[in-house]
């Protein structure tokens, strides 16, 4: 994380601390800060807007109830996406996509190449291409790009090993690049 990112997260720490003390307005402010990105994240897995909003509401309510348990305010976003991930997985499981999830869990590890960060300049292409990726690839790319979480944070949010995250991110980037090229070519 760069120093500027670190600075930008400091005020968030204050809001988290206030919300942890039961300040609803502070919690609402946190919702304002993260809700649009969280909605985008959830909508990449749930096509229906209403279902996505239901999930969002559940995520925020769970977070609000459990906030007093959060020891490190810095981990707020990791926790937020962990809960969102769990809710989405619950839903996908209910939709009988469990096998897909298991298959990905069985993926072998591939050494992750820490190269120059992809700039993802072609935002519109990326937006459309994301929908074509597998849920697992989509999720890991969004956490990296949208939230700029570190690999360790992603591993924590998704309850995966660091190696699996590296491997998944590697394949996800390849898949995204392929999709962007295909759409661009069309």
């Amino acid at each position: 994380m760069t120093s500027s990112e670190s600075d930008s997260r400091d005020p968030e720490r204050e809001w988290v601390l206030r919300a942890r003390r039961g300040d609803v307005d502070a919690f609402r402010h946190l919702v304002d800060l993260h809700d649009r990105r969280l909605l985008y994240f959830v909508l990449r897995f749930v096509a229906d807007g209403e279902t996505a909003l239901d999930i969002l509401q559940d995520v925020w309510l769970i977070l609000f109830r459990r906030l007093p348990e959060l020891r490190a305010p810095e981990a707020f976003r990791v926790w937020l996406y962990q809960i969102a991930h769990d809710r989405v997985v619950d839903l996908l499981r209910r939709r009988r996509r469990e096998e897909q999830a298991h298959e990905v869990l069985r993926n072998g590890l591939v050494e992750y190449e820490e190269g120059p960060e992809e700039r993802l300049e072609q935002v519109e292409l990326v937006h459309h291409a994301l929908d074509q990726l597998s849920p697992e690839h989509r999720e890991v790319l969004l956490l990296r790009f949208l939230e700029e979480l570190s690999l360790e944070e992603i591993a924590e949010a998704l309850r995966l090993s660091l190696g699996t995250v590296k491997s998944r991110l590697h394949y996800a980037r390849l898949a995204l690049r392929r999709q962007v090229e295909m759409i661009d070519h069309d």
């Binding site: 003390r21 039961g22 609803v24 919690f27 609402r28 919702v31 809700d35 649009r36 990105r37 909605l39 985008y40 909508l43 096509a47 229906d48 807007g49 209403e50 996505a52 909003l53 969002l56 509401q57 925020w60 309510l61 609000f64 109830r65 700039r119 993802l120 300049e121 072609q122 935002v123 519109e124 990326v126 937006h127 459309h128 929908d131 074509q132 790009f145 949208l146 700029e148």
Partner: protein, 358 residues
């Protein structure tokens, strides 16, 4: 998109592309979330120090709350009581959940609250949760209903989709009510939401791109709800994406098939009919030949719905194209074992497909 664009800008641009949740829908969700958060905060265990501070503030807050509550009561929106279903002839003849979206001024999901006794009758308050359509141009009032609208009266917390009509002269009416808590109800709700989204698409500054997104295969393609919306509000900017779907279908139908009789699948037939229905009001002549060719490849007895749309599809077609379509349709009349309905539809279409003699 330039290199100098910051990461935050790119993220903002990415988020702006997501339009599956409308502004009203999002606002309703935030109101709902706020309410739940307030209730959850009340249930949260309170620390002793907070308790003492709260006690000190209680008297002052009490006065303020009382003042606010009074003023809110005075300034609150009027309550509309829905007493019976009021359907016009069109809705009465065809109370279709998706077509009704275009016919009604307001379509919303409401949650029934605990019944109250007011002015000698039992009323159920209806809390508006999601507004899919509001063509009244103003904020919605509070709603209550009596047992006649929803027999039996909805139980507390039950959610229903309400189709409301509104005009200055007639006031409010309830055209239909559909429970949405069951799995089938949830499907209808999803379809209604999709239908409402597509009905709004022509108002978008970039409608063409919006159609591309809303009609993408991953979003359901031209499903029943989308078909209804496009029939109710045809828009030529949807033509390109529909034509692409038609070309794909044309290719698929033309491929050799396995199975008994080698028939085209029911899904493909349904899709073809829907495409013909939405392309006809657009008078999209580019669709004429693929539609006619597809119709000829359908099993006997299933071609009539396509033939019926061809005159309108060909309304602005060049003479040569019209002649080609006419030749294909005319073949129906020379079939050895024609189906009566196909033959009748083909015969009815031919005069409109005639071309002036050279």
């Amino acid at each position: 998109m330039t290199e100098s664009r910051s990461h935050a800008d790119r993220v903002a641009a990415l988020l702006a592309l997501e339009d599956r949740v409308g502004a009203e829908q999002y606002a309703a969700y935030r109101r709902r979330l706020d309410g739940r958060l307030r209730r959850a905060a009340r249930r949260r265990p309170i620390r002793p120090r907070t308790l003492a501070a709260a006690a000190a503030l209680l008297l002052a807050l009490g006065g303020l709350a009382s003042f606010l509550s009074d003023s809110r009561r005075r300034a609150g929106p009027p309550t509309v009581v829905l007493r019976e279903l009021t359907r016009d002839d069109v809705i009465a003849a065809d109370p279709h959940p998706y077509r009704n979206v275009a016919r009604c001024q307001v379509v919303a999901v409401v949650r029934a609250g605990p019944p109250v006794q007011q002015q000698g009758e039992r009323r159920v308050p209806l809390e508006v949760e999601n507004v899919f359509r509001n063509e009244t141009g103003k904020e919605l009032p509070a709603f209550q209903c009596t047992g006649e609208v929803l027999p039996p009266a909805p139980t507390s917390e039950q959610r229903v989709l309400v189709y409301l009509t509104y005009s200055r002269q007639q006031g409010w009416g309830c055209a239909d009510v559909v429970p949405v808590d069951s799995p089938s109800g949830r499907n209808i709700r999803r379809g209604v939401e999709r239908c409402a989204e597509l009905l709004r698409a022509p108002d978008s500054p970039d409608a063409k791109r919006l159609y591309e997104r809303l009609l993408a295969e991953g979003r359901g393609g031209l499903d029943e709800a989308a078909g209804c919306a496009l029939c109710c509000r045809p828009d030529s900017r949807s033509a390109d994406v529909l034509l692409r779907q038609l070309r794909r279908l044309h290719k698929r139908i033309g491929e050799p098939r396995e199975g008994p009789g080698g028939w085209v699948s029911e899904d493909d037939i349904e899709q073809l009919v829907r495409l013909a229905e939405v392309l006809a009001p657009l008078r999209e002549s580019r669709a004429a030949l693929p539609l006619a060719e597809c119709a000829r490849m359908l099993p006997r007895g299933r071609r009539a719905p396509i033939y019926r749309q061809l005159p309108e599809v060909c309304a602005t077609a060049p003479v040569d194209l019209k002649a080609k379509v006419r030749r294909l349709v005319a073949k129906e009349l020379t079939e050895h074992h024609p189906d009566g309905r196909d033959r009748a539809a083909a015969a009815a279409a031919l005069p409109a497909l005639s071309v002036p003699a050279r």
